[in-house]
């Protein structure tokens, strides 16, 4: 009897933490769709009514798309290069990619502000001032794309690096080039399909970062969805809660998919499934004989 109690008491803290995590979400959903105790989706009319939300959403999604493309297009070749041709540079790249972890986003924001102001101070028409103007354009703040790529690096580098380590990269590339494929053809047709999991992880993780990042966007006064939430909460609190719930849930789903895809498509898992399938096939064949 006592041992049974002991076993159930193990669940107590787990349930408590689970409650702590779910209650605020449930409260937000209740607040958003039960104004005055009756079910109503009126808070979500802000989606169609408020053009500033559409603008913020378009801006955020554009930034997210550019961030994903830039991240994948620069990180994958770089990690490949250190694995294939320059193994001595791997530690250097690892340190560079992990460094953003030690810089809190608000500190990075301070640095970016310093840089942009320095550019603006170089006088009208000068190259630095033009570039500074260009990359903080209100409609497409490229400065956010660049900094978001940097913020994603610590996690995505680790994922892609680990993914490349589990596949016989050298053999693949050598085999493919001996069959007459170019280096980039090999990368595109052989290597990328084999690191689909880490690449997908990077895509989803980067999307989650772009949807959730607040510090840098707010400091630079660029209205992405989180910054819009903050602005609109003064005038229409229920709408900001309604959108915050959506944003929160989609971030969670993105991160969930990211974590799962990193595992699901991992070379190791795939090899295991392949081996199991092969095993089955050979036993069937043997039985047939």
């Amino acid at each position: 009897m006592a041992s049974v109690n002991w076993r159930y008491s193990n669940w107590l803290p787990i349930v408590a933490v689970a409650l702590y995590v779910t209650v605020p979400v449930l409260c937000s959903i209740y607040y958003a769709v039960f104004p005055g105790g009756r079910f109503s989706l009126s808070a979500y009319s802000v989606i169609t009514d408020d053009a500033s939300l559409a603008a913020a959403a378009t801006r955020t999604l554009l930034i997210a798309a550019l961030t994903i493309v830039t991240l994948v297009a620069t990180l994958v070749p770089a990690v490949l290069a250190v694995h294939l041709w320059a193994p001595r540079l791997r530690p250097v790249l690892e340190i560079l990619c992990t460094l953003p972890l030690v810089v809190p986003p608000i500190a990075l924001a301070a640095g970016v502000v310093a840089l942009l102001r320095w550019g603006a101070q170089q006088g009208r028409g000068s190259l630095a001032s033009e570039v500074s103007q260009f990359i903080q354009h209100p409609d497409l703040p490229l400065i956010l794309v660049g900094t978001y790529v940097v913020l994603c690096l610590p996690f995505t580098f680790r994922s892609i690096d680990a993914g490349l380590r589990t596949i016989p990269l050298k053999a693949m590339v050598e085999g493919s080039s001996s069959l007459g494929s170019s280096v980039w053809g090999t990368v595109w047709r052989v290597v990328i399909p084999n690191i689909r999991g880490p690449v997908l992880f990077s895509v989803f993780f980067a999307t989650a970062v772009c949807l959730g990042e607040f510090a840098i966007a707010a400091t630079l006064n660029r209205e992405t969805i989180p910054v819009w939430l903050f602005t609109v909460s003064n005038s229409n609190f229920r709408a900001s809660i309604a959108i915050a719930v959506l944003l929160n849930l989609s971030t969670w789903i993105l991160l969930l998919v990211a974590t799962l895809s990193a595992g699901r498509f991992s070379a190791l898992g795939k090899a295991k499934r392949k081996a199991a399938a092969l095993d089955e096939a050979t036993t069937l064949e043997k039985e047939a004989h």
């Binding site: 193990n10 933490v17 937000s28 030690v102 500190a107 640095g111 102001r117 707010a218 939430l229």
Partner: protein
């Protein structure tokens, strides 16, 4: 900035090994002597290497890291250490950091919130992780691992909104539990600590669960067969192995709480309860004059230094613990 590019020529296989190494280049030169800087021999290897796929593949990422990370951080550090002298020039000095004494309240608040918040989360998180490990279900372990890593990344603006609705002055749970009677208010250090638990506890679970799961069954068995009790096991084996991981987790939580900006900014705003990240933001917004920018940069550098120290100790403690859990 040039760090990642500079060693590339030497290690890029695109260039023949001899030519790429600086000093091995020009024919006729005595071995070991470097050819003159402007001769072709000196640069042959470099130009070949620059066209190699390794350099082509590394260049874009290096450029992005340089422009959007290294240069801003370098700029921030320069401004933080630059001091205006009386004759209009600048010198290197710590004056901007000494100015920070006017932000002592923000510093005290930040440290208080982070210490209290991380302590509570460390205790709650490790107890939870311990219980999860005791249940000994691989499925539960992996579900918890996924969810805790998702929640550990929380801390954005939506988190603050959900807490305002839940525990704010008109919040649902606030009214339900009658928290007003015990003097709780969300817009104070109590509220920040409560809100930070939302991502700190999952972080602690994420960090310590592998340790608790990794405490091997054989060790418990060895302990029992040698006549030890449950208590001896924890006193002589379990706790000594888990301590570095728990300590490391706590330090990581401290750093995470200290660096949190978004949720605190939404909850507290710029008034009321100053915190270091909030001070940086308001100083940056205050414009160019009044030396606000230099102070903001000095605060930024302080935050980076704290984060570096935190991660350094976290890594060392993790490694000590990991040694036993291979």
């Amino acid at each position: 900035m040039s760090v990642p590019v500079a060693p590339t020529p030497g290690s890029a296989p695109g260039a023949p090994p001899g030519a790429a190494a600086p000093g091995g280049g020009a024919p006729g030169a005595p071995p070991g002597a470097r050819p003159p800087l402007l001769s072709r021999g000196r640069w042959d290897g470099v130009t070949t290497a620059l066209r190699s796929p390794a350099v082509l593949a590394l260049a874009p990422l290096t450029l992005i890291i340089a422009v959007f990370f290294l240069v801003p951080i370098f700029g921030m550090t320069t401004i933080a250490f630059a001091v205006q002298t009386d004759d209009g020039g600048t010198r290197i000095g710590l004056d901007n950091f000494l100015d920070l004494s006017s932000h002592s309240r923000a510093m005290r608040n930040s440290v208080l919130i982070s210490v209290v918040g991380s302590l509570i989360a460390a205790v709650a998180g490790s107890i939870t992780a311990f219980c999860i490990a005791q249940i000994k279900s691989e499925r539960l372990d992996s579900v918890v691992a996924v969810f805790s890593s998702v929640l550990a990344n929380d801390g954005g603006a939506p988190l603050a909104f959900s807490f305002i609705v839940t525990l704010g002055n008109t919040g649902i749970i606030f009214g339900l539990l009658g928290l007003e009677a015990i003097g709780f208010t969300l817009y104070s250090w109590q509220g920040l600590v409560a809100m930070y638990q939302y991502f700190l506890i999952p972080t602690m679970i994420m960090v310590t669960l592998p340790t608790f799961v990794g405490l091997r069954k054989e060790w418990t068995e060895a302990n029992t067969s040698l006549g030890g009790s449950r208590l001896t096991f924890w006193r002589r084996v379990g706790i000594p192995i888990a301590t570095p991981a728990l300590l490391g987790g706590w330090i990581l939580l401290f750093g995470s709480a200290f660096a949190t900006y978004a949720s605190a900014a939404v909850l507290i705003g710029s008034g009321g309860f100053p915190l270091i990240p909030l001070s940086i933001d308001s100083l940056l917004g205050s414009g160019l004059g009044a030396g606000g920018q230099s102070t903001a940069m000095a605060l930024g550098v302080t935050m980076v230094v704290i984060a570096v120290v935190v991660l350094f100790f976290f890594n060392r403690l993790q490694r000590r613990s990991a040694r036993w859990l291979q």
